[in-house]
């Protein structure tokens, strides 16, 4: 059998579809698979419509999910009755900051895309087609499936991906029975291999028997939906393999998008989350079924990464991992550092890595990280079960800045149990953090299927409903099915009110505006420590600390300490100080804006002086013409 795995919009343009590429390699011979990048076709059509704006695809792909606009763009192509739900979409565009005329143009172009993509796929003469649905890919996939089934009613169409996990895939198939023959749920290697073998079986009874053994499969039998239970077996780390990514690089090379896309590599070195296994962050949408952490052996990860770099001659690597395997700090990362390459890796990390561990990451070429900072006050972080504190997060921001590493993070609020008292002290201190990389924004967190807030209504979100846009994107889907199909949910706001939230957003905006022109550094020369304060909004001053005990205490505050703990640490180091001394010291530093206070814990804010550190305006610059396509702005949640 020849399986075509089609990648639909809004998959990002600058790297391969990791799942499709690896699934293409798991079929038993003589079956084969082709990965087809239909998303590039849509990017080309958008580019043709406005040649001065190559970033339009990227903007919609990045920001069109939560508002439903990404899915809405393809509703006209799916339903085929002219412009669809125009007033709802116009309102959503206004709220999300999208240009309405441009977005409406994309909505109309999408019909042509679906026709072209279907023709391209059928020209490959597939025996089955697989369509992945992650984030805002569902409606595009349905529009494509509708055309494929109209032209080849016998062609099996298989849906998979994150939007099919749990009850979502079954609901999607129930709602679109003519478009979806099968839904593969969960991690796809084994079920897809079994499905292709079954589809190639001529004997109907044997085929039926084989289909019945595939864990998690949704299918039709005599017009009735069969939803098979998802299995519990998951591939171990040793069994995980990556794809070649050849299909992606070939597709880009033969696409007009090559003019404005700088392709990068994508690599999976682990699945699941070792922290989530212990404590599932209350807002994290990783499914409990797949949260068990499994990492590739470092040797495999290294061979795949360096092999892909060599094969495709590309040095930018995005990993899909939810969290870095700490064992890699002693294996994979030193090996990459020793290779002497100018890599740029992206990893999601836990926020409690030490300065030494971050230096190991940087030496290996990990230049961009998503540490899951989420908040700078310990109380909301505790409500999230993040396993970090506000002061730890500030120390992390400082260390990352000092290592020249870029941090992707959002400030999240809206957690049941939080109050203004957890935000007002932070807001008052944000001007002191202006030399550290600010968050992309401050946002009320959203309830996602599978996160503890969804699974356990008693945590504070007793009443919830699919985000309103699901209704106008899927007008024909029954209410019960819509509840099962949705991944994003709305509820009554919890936590801080809009007055406090607005103050937080304004403070973050000021932080973003003034980051690039601020610095706070220190140098120890002889016995004197000098702090050079060149932060925006202050007179430039130098602070000198000459007392040896005070110099030692300041350096100790690189890690968060209370007065009591600082005293104990300093006394242990041989400095004759007492707690009143420590309290007075901390108070003076804090008055000068040199520390961040999280309750009674303080952490120093200055970076070691380094003329090599260069800041650019937060939120992007015009240095690279193809900037918009290079790296996505990562959302605060995992998926």
């Amino acid at each position: 059998m020849h399986l075509v795995l089609a990648v639909t919009p809004w998959h990002l343009l600058h790297h391969a579809h990791a799942a499709a590429e690896l699934l293409a390699g798991v079929l038993d011979p003589p079956h084969r698979a082709t990965v087809h990048y239909a998303n590039l076709t849509f990017a080309e059509l958008l580019r043709d419509a406005d040649r001065d704006d190559p970033g339009r695809y990227h903007r919609l792909a990045e920001s069109g999910y939560l508002s439903g606009i990404g899915d809405w763009v393809f509703t006209r192509a799916l339903y085929g009755q002219g412009d669809h739900a125009v007033e709802d979409a116009r309102g959503a565009c206004a709220s999300a900051g999208f240009d309405w005329e441009q977005t409406l143009a994309a909505h109309r172009i999408a019909e042509r895309w679906a026709d072209l993509a279907a023709a391209d796929i059928l020209a490959l003469q597939p025996d089955a087609v697989g369509l992945s649905t992650t984030f805002a890919q569902s409606v595009a996939a349905l529009a494509l499936a509708r055309r494929l089934k109209r032209q080849r009613p016998d062609l099996p169409v298989v849906f998979g991906g994150s939007n099919c996990d749990g009850p979502m895939g079954a609901a999607l198939q129930r709602s679109f029975p003519a478009e979806i023959d099968f839904v593969v749920r969960g991690e796809g290697e084994q079920p897809l291999r079994q499905l292709v073998n079954a589809l190639d079986t001529a004997d109907p009874a044997d085929r039926e028997r084989q289909l019945g053994t595939i864990a998690g499969l949704c299918r039709w039998r005599a017009g009735t939906q069969v939803v098979q239970p998802e299995g519990t077996a998951l591939p171990e780390g040793e069994e995980l393999r990556g794809g070649t990514q050849d299909a992606y690089f070939d597709a880009v090379a033969s696409s007009e998008a090559a003019d404005w896309v700088r392709p990068g590599l994508v690599l999976e070195t682990s699945r699941g989350c070792w922290w989530g296994q212990r404590k599932h962050c209350t807002f994290c949408g990783l499914s409990d079924r797949t949260i068990r952490f499994r990492a590739k052996p470092a040797r495999t990860a290294s061979e795949e990464l360096l092999g892909a770099v060599d094969r495709h001659q590309v040095l930018d690597v995005m990993t899909t991992d939810n969290i870095l395997d700490l064992a890699y700090l002693d294996s994979l990362l030193p090996e990459l550092a020793a290779a002497g390459l100018d890599l740029h890796l992206f990893y999601e990390i836990k926020a409690n890595l030490t300065a030494e561990q971050l230096a190991t990451l940087r030496a290996a070429g990990v230049l961009t990280v998503q540490p899951g900072i989420e908040n700078l006050h310990s109380a909301p972080l505790k409500l999230m079960d993040k396993g970090s504190t506000g002061a730890m997060n500030v120390a992390l921001l400082r260390e990352l800045q000092g290592n020249g590493m870029t941090t992707m993070w959002n400030y999240l609020y809206g957690f049941p149990g939080e109050s203004a008292a957890h935000y007002l002290p932070v807001i008052a201190q944000l001007p002191n953090l202006v030399h550290l990389l600010p968050p992309a924004g401050a946002y009320r967190h959203i309830i996602e299927r599978f996160n503890p807030y969804f699974e356990r209504p008693e945590l504070g979100f007793a009443r919830r409903a699919p985000m309103p846009w699901y209704r106008w994107v899927y007008p024909h889907v029954a209410d019960g099915d819509l509840d099962d199909l949705a991944y994003l949910f709305a509820s009554q706001p919890a936590g801080i009110d809009e007055v406090t939230a607005s103050a937080l957003r304004e403070a973050v905006a000021a932080w973003q505006d003034h980051y690039h022109c601020s610095s706070l550094t220190h140098r120890l020369v002889g016995d004197t420590l000098t702090v050079y304060d060149r932060r925006h909004g202050r007179d430039p001053v130098d602070h000198r600390i000459c007392d040896p005990a005070a110099v030692a205490a300041y350096r100790e505050l690189a890690r968060p300490h209370s007065a009591e703990r600082l005293t104990a640490r300093q006394r242990k180091a041989g400095h004759d100080i007492d707690e009143p001394w420590a309290r007075a010291f901390l108070a003076e530093l804090h008055r000068a804006g040199l520390t961040y206070a999280d309750g009674d814990t303080h952490v120093a804010l200055s970076l070691a002086h380094d003329p090599r550190l260069r800041r650019l305006p937060a939120g992007g610059t015009t240095l690279a013409i193809r900037s918009a396509e290079q790296l996505p702005a990562y959302a605060g949640s995992h998926r």
């Binding site: 700088r262 390459l341 100018d342 020249g404 941090t407 130098d542 000198r544 003329p611 260069r614 690279a624």
Partner: protein
């Protein structure tokens, strides 16, 4: 009791060339402006490192640019910036290739440099400034001329940089306003690209290397200055924060 002695930002002390050896031993909390000759830089770096790397700005009086290999030494010693004095007489055919090599390494390692072209009229004769706009432009003074002004206006960090891969290098070139990415993977070409980081007379190269240098000159990655060749892109060692558009 007060722990902090706070003052307005203090200008570093000014030290003349003959003073720095004796006075740098003092704890220069506010750093220093130091005048030194190019040949003294390694010794100055050692002295600075020994006392903890005070914030130091070095003005180098020199007829020839400092050795490009000194950039790392100066940074490790805590030097914040280097200012090169204007050469007062014609310093010979190696001046420009050496200056380009020094500027290239300074940018690569992140050492801020200011400099001035030679006094001689027509200093920019035969110099294609459009190939140099990724390097720090000369300080513009009165009568700097069109070349220096052009250079200054078109300069931006990051316009021409390279990265090391597995047996290949990637050059990212935006000097002419459009972004292009070139992969060099031919061993003879990568060899020449690396070797010409040190200014080299083309006539001294073997036949294959000379042909490779010719290709690199054609691509704008190597500059030929009257028969002396030098690599132009700088190695991307330090990324700005955020790096999302770099």
């Amino acid at each position: 009791m007060s722990f902090l002695l706070t003052t307005s930002a203090v200008e570093p002390a000014q030290l003349r060339a003959e003073e720095w050896r004796s006075r740098l031993a003092l704890p220069y909390a506010h750093g220093a402006h130091v005048r030194a000759a190019a040949g003294e830089l390694p010794e100055l770096a050692r002295e600075l490192q020994a006392i903890g790397g005070p914030r130091t700005h070095v003005t180098v009086s020199t007829e020839t640019p400092p050795d490009a290999g000194h950039v790392e030494l100066l940074l490790a010693a805590g030097v914040d910036s280097v200012q090169l004095a204007r050469p007062e007489r014609d310093a010979g055919e190696l001046w420009w290739p050496s200056m380009i090599a020094f500027l290239r390494e300074a940018v690569s390692h992140g050492l801020p440099v200011s400099w001035q072209p030679p006094l001689s009229a027509g200093w920019d004769d035969g110099l294609d400034v459009s190939l140099l706009v990724h390097l720090p432009p000369p300080t513009i003074g009165d009568g700097a001329g069109r070349a220096a002004t052009d250079w200054s206006h078109r300069h931006a960090p990051g316009l021409c940089r390279w990265r090391q891969g597995t047996g290949f290098v990637v050059v990212l070139d935006e000097r002419d306003g459009a972004a292009s990415q070139t992969v060099i993977d031919d061993p003879v070409l990568t060899g020449a690209f690396g070797a010409l980081h040190e200014p080299t007379r083309l006539a001294e190269l073997g036949r294959r290397s000379r042909a490779a240098a010719g290709e690199l000159i054609e691509a704008g990655f190597v500059l030929d200055l009257n028969g002396i060749a030098v690599t132009l892109p700088y190695r991307l060692r330090h990324w700005p924060v955020p790096n999302t558009s770099y």
